[in-house]
């Protein structure tokens, strides 16, 4: 029998913000297959105009309720780059630790609360508190740990208070940092249990070739600043971000959209791993390998020693065969694998955070906040936040007021890719002879795999 279905999902659940899915199939022919973004705009770029620079991180953090730390740090970096300020080593470490814990918090929220229910056949995490209490407990433990460290370093887990242009208003307690190090070490057992859980998930085998954009590593796995790269071989400087995002509008979305070398591009954990697999720590690589997320060429390059920390201190990793993104077989094109990529990143950020705390505790506290000298200029920041690469660009006048602002959000860069994925997924489902219930679930799972932050994308 030929498949016919009419799927009309208004305000998809278990994602941040408001988006719709529409799929119409008649007698095995896909008539419509759409992803639509209906979120209301809040006009942050206009709100910022005329405001003094100290407002920028405070306001921009409020673009997003999940990645407020990432937005705050991007805004701070944009202002600092505009003023020509280089953060101190201590400030850099604290910011990265804070960012890592936001990544852990956000990824765990997505993996367990938003994505996992589909793989376990339930509608939300609520039934899992009865059927899989240990799983829920390990998720809550990981999330609590990440949030506790965000409180300690950033002052608050949501809309941080201590992060300002020039550094921090307050430093964390050294004794508590030491305790957090122990909890991070202990959390590796929960991450191992998460890997075991993932082994039971049957990840849909769906592929659509696309272009993946992220920060470009130099033997490391970068999160804050640096060059930009795509799997199609485009490399740009941080301040050339607009050439990487090429924003445009379409009638089906209140969010702006992006493209680069193809009709769409993708950002996020999978994009980062596709571009920077070689920079992952060995432990994270092993997890990636075990869960089937291994760019073939990268696997051939073998396991290097832990390189991230040394690379951050200026030392290049050794023993790695040069690996270039875009090599044959090196790019994973299954969007569902983004959830796996997020789990791999959880391992990466926990291990890096342990090292960061060691580095911080190895030296006494230095000055917490630099003096800020205002000057006219344009500041650009590229920061890898949980859902992908985020850009903030601020034009500042001689008095330090914002003349023009531009924020390019990871999910806005992903929307067009999600739309084209949905089109291909509908055809894939017809070919596989899926039922309408299966098609509906797969379409929902596909959008959720991107962990979209839709209100953030429209901002």
């Amino acid at each position: 029998m030929k498949i016919s279905c009419d799927i009309d999902i208004k305000h998809l659940t278990r994602v941040e913000g408001h988006g719709n899915i529409r799929i119409v199939i008649e007698d095995g022919q896909v008539r419509e297959a759409r992803w639509e973004v209906v979120e209301t705009p809040r006009f942050f770029e206009a709100i910022l105009v005329g405001k003094h620079f100290e407002n920028a991180p405070y306001l921009c953090g409020r673009i997003c309720g999940i990645c407020s730390i990432g937005h705050t740090l991007a805004s701070i970096r944009a202002v600092e780059n505009g003023f020509g300020i280089t953060p101190t080593v201590q400030t850099g470490r604290l910011r990265l630790l804070l960012k890592h814990m936001e990544t852990l918090q956000s990824h765990i929220l997505h993996i367990y609360f938003l994505a996992a229910p589909d793989y376990l056949g339930v509608g939300s995490v609520l039934p899992l508190t009865q059927s899989h209490p240990a799983v829920v407990q390990q998720a809550l433990r990981l999330k609590l740990l990440a949030n506790d460290i965000c409180d300690e370093v950033g002052g608050r887990r949501l809309h941080p208070t201590r992060t300002v242009v020039g550094g921090f208003t307050m430093l964390p307690d050294r004794y508590r940092l030491g305790q957090f190090r122990q909890r991070l070490q202990a959390s590796l057992a929960d991450l191992d249990a998460s890997v075991e859980l993932f082994r039971t998930f049957s990840i849909p085998d769906f592929q659509r070739e696309t272009e993946f954009v992220s920060l470009k590593g130099n033997g490391d796995y970068p999160f804050i600043g640096g060059d930009l790269i795509s799997t199609d071989g485009v490399v740009k400087k941080e301040q050339e971000y607009a050439a990487m995002t090429n924003e445009y509008m379409a009638e089906w979305s209140t969010s702006k959209l992006s493209r680069l070398s193809r009709k769409s591009l993708a950002v996020g954990a999978l994009a980062r791993i596709n571009n920077n697999f070689a920079g992952l720590l060995p432990e994270a690589k092993v997890i990636a390998e075990e869960l089937g997320l291994v760019p073939v060429t990268a696997r051939d390059a073998g396991h290097g020693r832990p390189s991230v920390v040394r690379a951050r201190d200026g030392e290049r990793a050794t023993g790695l065969i040069p690996w270039e993104p875009g090599m044959a077989g090196a790019v994973n094109h299954n969007p569902f694998m983004n959830v796996v990529a997020q789990l791999v990143e959880c391992v990466q950020v926990v291990l890096e955070s342990i090292q960061l705390i060691d580095d911080l505790l190895a030296v006494p506290w230095q000055e917490l906040r630099q003096t800020v000298a205002v000057r006219e200029g344009i500041g650009v920041a590229a920061v890898e936040v949980p859902r992908g690469i985020l850009y903030h660009c601020l034009h500042l006048d001689a008095a330090g007021r914002i003349v023009k602002a531009d924020c390019v959000i990871p999910t806005s860069q992903n929307h067009a890719n999600i739309r084209h994925d949905i089109e291909d997924l509908a055809v894939f489902c017809v070919n596989q002879g899926k039922t309408d219930k299966e098609i509906e679930l797969l379409a929902e799972m596909l959008v959720r795999a991107y962990d979209p932050c839709i209100s953030c994308s429209v901002h």
Binding site: H11, T13, R14, V15, E16, G17, T40, P41, R42, F43, E45, A46, I47, V49, K51, H52, E54, N55, Y58, L59, R62, I63, C64, G65, I66, S68, L109, F113, L114, P117, G123, S124, V125, L126, P127, T129, Q130, V136, L140, R141, K143, L144, N147, G155, R156, R157, L158, H159, T161, R162, V164, T169, M170, M249, T254, S455, C456
Partner: protein, 266 residues
């Protein structure tokens, strides 16, 4: 989840609760999930029948509606009126819902066409002046803060479930800050709205050495004339003071007064 819970054998009444969001960052709803240590206890206190961000199932039968975000489009007005019809109690969750929040900063230009053009160029986009929930429907209870403080939400929800009266503090953040023995931020040269902002957050920002931005709106006993004198004495510019007062919309009337006086002085 089992629908009927008992405590020591006595049935516990669990109100049906729905969570909704208009224009917002959805951070206030996430704050509830961010309370890992007490989340499961909290979930046993109420029966959540609608929480789009967290669950697939959705019911239109709820007694208490928590609404986050501000109203910025015609369809949001309709959704909100619909929620009002269905719910016995409507709670405004967070500063966007209570005062318009950071979203209302776009109102200060008094020029929606410019605002639209600045962000979207010539692409047609629909928006309105930002409004708090109370401008569209009757709101029964307001929970302030950007973000909301989860401990406060749990306290308020517990009171709602038990049918107890809910009291917001009458005094300002400054009182809580003093009780925590913090260094006064004015002594560090930082502007702070602690003297005029409604307490209840336990001086969240000042305890992290960030001056208060007034996200909870004015305390009933706020002396705003005195605030201007303090700021002037400390050499803090009126621009910086207004940046904070206008940030979340809670002090809108007062900011308008300052602007009028400024115009008159010209």
């Amino acid at each position: 989840m089992t629908k009927n819970k008992t405590f020591l054998g006595v049935p516990v009444a669990r109100p049906k609760v729905g969570f909704f969001e208009l224009s917002s960052c959805e951070g206030c709803q996430l704050q509830l999930l961010n309370n890992e240590a007490t989340l499961l206890d909290f979930l046993s206190l109420v029966e959540i029948v609608r929480f789009r961000e967290g669950m697939k199932e959705a019911s239109d039968e709820y007694e208490i509606a928590f609404v986050e975000g501000s109203v910025t489009r015609a369809d949001e007005e309709e959704r909100l009126k619909n929620i009002r019809e269905k719910a016995r109690i409507v709670v405004a969750l967070g500063s966007c819902a209570c005062f318009g929040g950071v979203n209302q900063l776009k109102n200060r230009f008094h020029d929606l066409e410019w605002v639209k053009k600045e962000v979207y160029g010539s692409f047609p986009i629909e928006t309105q002046e930002v409004k708090p929930l109370s401008a569209v429907i009757k709101v029964d209870l307001e929970i302030y803060g950007c973000p909301i403080k989860k401990e406060e939400v749990e306290r308020i929800v517990t009171a709602l479930v038990l049918g107890e009266e809910i009291h917001h503090p009458q005094y300002p953040v400054c009182m809580e800050c003093k009780a925590r023995e913090n260094i006064c931020l004015f002594d560090l040269g930082e502007p702070c709205l602690g003297p005029v902002t409604r307490a209840g957050c336990d001086a969240w920002c000042p305890s992290n050495r960030l001056g208060c931005w007034g996200c909870r709106g004015p305390a009933p006993e706020a002396n705003l004339t005195r605030l201007q004198i303090i700021m002037a004495e400390r050499g803090i510019s009126q621009e910086r003071m207004i940046d904070r007062l206008e940030c979340f919309g809670g002090f809108a009337g007062f900011v308008a007064d300052i602007r009028v006086k400024k115009e008159e002085a010209k």
